[in-house]
Symmetry: D2
Subunit: 369 residues, 4 copies
């Protein structure tokens, strides 16, 4: 596919631009018989929605999803599920002057070279707004996975700029604007307020965990489960790094430490992050991603225009000062799409395999990634 379809068996085709009439996606291959309503999808869309706190973009979008097809009398029919989200708060004039300028850190320069033309309105296709349809599709995958395996996929912010965020408890995550697993987020709020004042932005680290995963998802090479996860995560706007399990920490580990020992009760540790040889172990799948600081900042930056002349760029308009703040539901959705895809592959090839699990899989409930 030319890039806009994610997955093969549970194939999500994304379309739209930030300031066009609508964005959306088509999910092809959803198993039939799944109960599905707009409300099921809206939950996660609302978690990702802009304008919900002072720390994110003030663009007002209800992100109301319309199911155009694939559902009959509240059940999926097995045919394509088209999801439509109308854009309602476009302000294209904000961007009129940017058609001729390449904003540093943005896709302006590369789009122009690749396509010979580009839609400059709000970043057009390169806008993080295009993650909304993936969140919608991910909600469908999450629901199916939960019904079939009890799978729960949840994430949290592990660092905001220079501030590492300790893992206190899952229960805090949904109670603050940052998806931070801590009771008191005043430090984070101050940090963001300070950044906005100086017209700058910061990065973030997000951890995502999938609990209750069947053993056996993924294929040896090169569609390893972890390779698919890395692909999905690095495909999210602004992501610059991906780790599975011990990640870069494994470089300095010894084999006698890293290799997770097994007992009749289960694995003793999870340096593998739930994946061995590209295939899920049944332990929690643990992923960590690095999100770069927002490129749209008020501070003046040097750049050039299409004629090659030097210019200074100051970006006003409405932007997230840390795109990582809204990234948690996005990363969850992408992980859900990967797991959904692999669950269907596994049924296709290995439906006849009958191996009883040797032990109950563990949960990530009270530990950090």
């Amino acid at each position: 596919m030319p890039g806009s379809t994610f997955g093969t068996l549970f194939a999500v085709t994304n379309f739209g631009e930030s300031h066009g009439p609508a964005i959306g996606c088509v999910i092809d291959g959803c198993p039939p018989g799944l109960s599905l309503s707009q409300a099921d999808i809206q939950i996660d869309l609302n978690r990702r929605r802009p304008g919900t706190s002072r720390h994110v973009t003030q663009r007002q979008e209800a992100d109301q999803v319309e199911i155009l097809s694939g559902v009959f009398e509240g059940k999926t029919t097995g045919t394509p599920i088209a999801l439509l989200i109308r854009n309602t708060d476009q302000r294209s004039k904000d961007y009129a002057n940017l058609l001729d300028t390449f904003r540093p850190g943005h896709a302006d320069y590369t789009y122009w070279h690749k396509y010979g033309l580009r839609d400059p309105r709000g970043g057009g296709r390169s806008s993080a707004r295009l993650t909304a349809p993936m969140v919608a599709a991910g909600a469908v995958a999450k629901k199916w996975l939960h019904e079939h395996y009890g799978t729960v996929i949840h994430g949290y912010m592990a660092a905001l700029g220079e501030l590492p965020i300790p893992f206190e408890a899952w229960e805090h995550v949904e109670r603050n604007a940052f998806f931070a697993p801590i009771a008191d987020v005043s430090l984070l709020e101050n940090y963001m307020d300070e950044l906005r004042k100086v017209g700058d932005s910061c990065g973030a680290r997000i951890n995502i965990v999938a609990d209750q995963i069947p053993v056996g998802l993924g294929t040896p090479l090169f569609d390893k489960l972890d390779a698919q996860i890395a692909y999905a995560m690095m495909g999210i706007n602004a992501v610059k790094g991906v780790e599975i399990g011990a990640g870069f920490g494994s470089v300095a580990q010894k084999g006698s430490t890293h290799g997770d020992e097994i007992t009749p009760q289960g694995f003793r540790s999870n340096n593998a992050g739930g994946v061995l040889g590209g295939i899920s172990t049944g332990q929690p799948i643990t992923v960590s991603i690095a999100i770069k600081p927002t490129s749209s900042i008020r501070s003046p930056r040097h750049s050039i225009d299409r004629a090659g002349n030097p210019v200074v760029v100051e970006t006003f308009g409405r932007h997230d000062p840390c795109v990582g703040i809204r990234a948690t539901p996005i990363a969850e959705a992408m992980l859900a799409l990967v797991l959904m895809e692999q669950a269907l592959w596994q049924r296709a090839q290995c439906a006849d395999v009958q191996i009883s699990p040797l032990f109950t899989t563990s949960l990530s409930n009270n530990k950090t990634v």
Copy 2:
């Protein structure tokens, strides 16, 4: 594809097991008219070959490649190029006792659950030996990319276990067994000798750089160039983390630092690692990967057998005490395959676009990633 084909337009299908009669691959979609001989491919296979120093596995394999199809009178014909490498130094008896045991850190447990049976000889399909065909295919991609764009893809070891390795110069890389960019590798040799003595293993960090990349490779979402690279890298055995450009360092950066400014002479920095909005900028593409310590070690480890009973595993046989040592040509090959694929996609969709580059792309010659 069920996992063994990499790429769509330049599609490499890998087959074989560590101790079966042969391994190999089929390259479908190679442009016609490329001069190609076995020698072109053998160069990189020899760089990856086992048994070339005391720091790697002592298995003796010439890894002699045979071109079975797709080349006529020294030129590629545009039809599938089948490459065959016979295994010659199998010692399957070394592994006979492992059929019933799950080695910690290995794919034994997951293969058994997924497939209901597994080939235990040398890890079967999960062996890093299966990277050899990818190195062979990568050599074809490297050659084509170099002829078309002058692209050079090279890598080096940036850390060996706890030892960070400073970048001194590219010229050192091919002169030592570690692909280390330093003149004196005695520290690394001592470190490895010590590890072998205690029967343990270590991880490594490998950096890979691609110079002379055309602007415009990759697609917005979700086949971003960096997503494809992350997929390719995480698909290599033992890789647990992938970074592009500033990677995890970008979490603590400010937007005013991270976003690479542009001047009429080019980009001022390369935090992007050569990719913006999923599309190549023409700057060097910089990738860094984390390789976990080898799981096969002499030190006793706890595990269970297929009946769920506890066992102690001590792995003898022939193993790399640090699989990262031979990983550099593998990672180069995977990056070459991604770039080749994307170069063909770009011709397919955007062959008519005529944008002159605004400046000459920079090289990575005298800087670290």
Copy 3:
């Protein structure tokens, strides 16, 4: 893909049901810079539209297309083009009684077995209404092919039920409701009027021709150009047979007759139908398809219900008494999509090949297929 995406490089993902809120498609991979407006697409949609004569279904649908994305200031941007067509004349109650019954010749029985449930409103997903988005996508492909190669794709009805239709001239085709290449269609009209009177239906044969095709499209095996065409044609509702060139007539031909001789001025005949070894010759591509009689007829038919009890089915509602009447623009569109796809593949792999054509390609202007 799970069936709803056609093509890989020019990938068209179709969604919707006959009586849902909307139908449509997403075109991913369209080359950038193509001038495109809704009017370009509406032309072919209008040719396929229902309700335009007494010989087709009386369902009233304007089939007005909305471009949701992928076009900026009148040019394609290279990003996904989403096309939406709202359904406006649903009469779902017409079909309420059909949920429990399997109509002979219809997909009711197979959908129910496959998916365990089905949308019975107007055939749901199995309705020929779903060809409208393909006609829309085909219009985009036709435009690009015409601009790049001068390609013209046109079709006509070659038989209506038992009536063979002689080829008189292309100019007649667009002047009657049948796409018949004859000046006087009164025989056809009488035939249809008679059928409607008795509550029966008939089949049709449609021929499609593509003129001005570049040499070299298609790949040896198994994506032969003719294989792709056969796939595309047999994928159209109600098609039961596909021929390329001499088709089934070639069974009784001798090799000395069938093999098209070549002269310095070009091919002497076109038994090949424009394809040799799976690759286009530059001659007109000639395709012929068989369309079965409409299954929805007033005459009573025997069937069973979901409990397995015998029932008698008489189908009222609005139906085409010969679905072949509106099939010509659909078959043209599918051929356009195949050629577009293959044109992009050819650029991807063989852009560097420089072979001058040895002669001018011939046209199909004044001959039948």
Copy 4:
């Protein structure tokens, strides 16, 4: 894929040329645990083998298959199965003079234009010899389908040139060189002897039937089961037409005749050929294909050389005077590959659907297609 891979879940990648060192394929995605030996594959390879009667090419090839991977202790492991067939009877000098000439009816002209160069030895990649690996892969699919559903796929010759062949009984098919379902093939033998005498060739019609097919295989659009079958069949060398069920006969049928009525005991007829709405009905799948006369004949034909000058071509060497004679096992194999693929898709998406068949499926045992 660039054309050489057939299927997605049961993906067969074909490689080789007629006179290169070897031909073969890689099957990726085969379910694990299937008993598989070389003998299982050799049966069908022997049915397709050249040199077994005076009516086919006299090239001597044992077509001995070697399993290089994917099978351990007699069972498939779920990893790629690589199959290798060495070419042993190349006579490349036979073709040396053909490098400069385009043989009428052959792929010479199109390969040269597409790729800019071609392997002329025995037709290179365009040789029907490349169907051997598909027959090998098809044998694996046949075995799996038979074990899972009792599926039997068999074909027969329905016409040899101008001679229609009545269906007498399946038992005759394997007892003559033609796969003809008749007891006495002397008429066919005389016809072929006559053709060889005059240096000409003829076409053939082959029917293929699949019995014991589960209901529900295939997807609505555009991967309809019949579309996939048409693709597979038209991808076989020399095929010019494909019919499903009533095929072109349905053009002149009325709806009241064509639509197969259903009773509590099953379908009353099979005009559908076992497919409704793109999905299998459980009835026998019936396919008919037209095979053009061999293009390589002794009779002189007009053509041109690469410089555009007129030449006369007389083809000596070893050729099948009717490629249709050996086509039956090839067409069976391609149908098996399609059904295998769709069976896995069905498990992937619809494994949870539990609908009991309403009646036993019928067999094609004593009737013609």
